[in-house]
Symmetry: C3
Subunit: 155 residues, 3 copies
């Protein structure tokens, strides 16, 4: 019937990322491009969602010195130095795990980034600008992290 209806795509994939350092910018663009190709998506969008509360999704430039600037910037805005009630295990009673991390500052930094970003898909490829790369930003690593990718559109 309709040429679009018969070719609609809705797929979800999970990317696994192992971070190594406390703060780390992991360029996941190649993994996303691969997911778009594997789904055969031609036109539509890719929704990228981290499944964690001390990480964020950021689309910016992959220039190593800039990444050090961004790391210093987030550290300046949300200092790691004390004062987070979330890290006061004498007072805290909720969501406590056996090996609880002191990560109040990581939550605040993550709150400045996004849990999800969308990127258009055009002609079977991510429609990123010349300098744009998609990062999972780790603020409380190293840990195994999951990124949920939803692909919607047409084949």
């Amino acid at each position: 019937m309709s040429p679009t209806a018969s070719a609609s795509v809705i797929e979800r994939r999970v990317l696994s990322v192992d971070t190594q350092r406390p703060v780390e910018f992991v360029d996941i663009t190649p993994l996303l491009s691969q997911a778009v190709r594997a789904a055969g998506l031609l036109t539509g969008l890719t929704m990228v969602q981290t499944r964690h509360t001390t990480t964020g999704v950021l689309i910016n430039e992959n220039e190593p010195l800039l990444l050090t600037d961004l790391e210093a910037f987030f550290a300046r805005v949300a200092t790691a130095a004390g004062g987070y009630a979330h890290d006061d295990f004498c007072r805290r009673t909720v969501n406590l795990t056996p090996h609880e991390r002191t990560n109040g500052s990581a939550h605040c930094r993550a709150a400045l980034l996004r849990t999800s970003e969308c990127v258009a898909v055009v002609n079977g490829a991510l429609d990123l600008g010349r300098w744009q790369r998609v990062f999972l930003v780790e603020f409380d690593g190293g840990q195994r992290r999951e990124v949920s990718v939803t692909l919607m559109g047409e084949r």
Copy 2:
């Protein structure tokens, strides 16, 4: 014909939230889960959009002490203490209402959050990580607020 085409879902719902305090983190996850179930959405995405300019959508952990940390953090980054031209009703001539609120700092805080976030839907449920909850963050309450929810995908 296509198994996906005949089951496509596009639904929009409006959630109403009454905030009580000037700054408040309202966990709207149960309302969103209910919307996903009511729409019968199995696979796809949920787009959550606040309809206000002094609130934001945040996905993070619902731990009460962390919420006090986040409140203090946003207050520190965008202080409520004077200096906002938006609040100078002697100079301002645009968008003035009879009972205008002094909320320049609330706009700045909201600008650090997002107006919209997307969450994947997998097997009929929101695909949130273990600690992830979706909040409407109020920076200029108490007020009646509206959250627009768009559900897209397949039944």
Copy 3:
């Protein structure tokens, strides 16, 4: 067959915006509304994505004094005064162009905003709240900028 399947819409448009000043809030709401109408989209969502790493998408109020507040706020949080390794062209070796701009602070400010935002479409119009407008925020202008708009839903 299904009434929705035969009317599905997936369209992508590129908006061109010429910024004039180093920092500028460009209200692109009229261009987006026009794109929704041109696509004939009745129900669904509009995904707005900047294609640059020193700009951001922001949904907030178009009140001129507030825009000066927001500009001052972002300048305060990420000062333009020195200290960005990205701007140290003696050390930097990656992504260098002939007329490289010193824009480390612009990248940091952009990182506080979003690359993409979604707005619901209801009854053929953007479902924005009373004070909501969609801005492309320029932090390193003037330049020619592109905004990618993806429209998904039903006619």
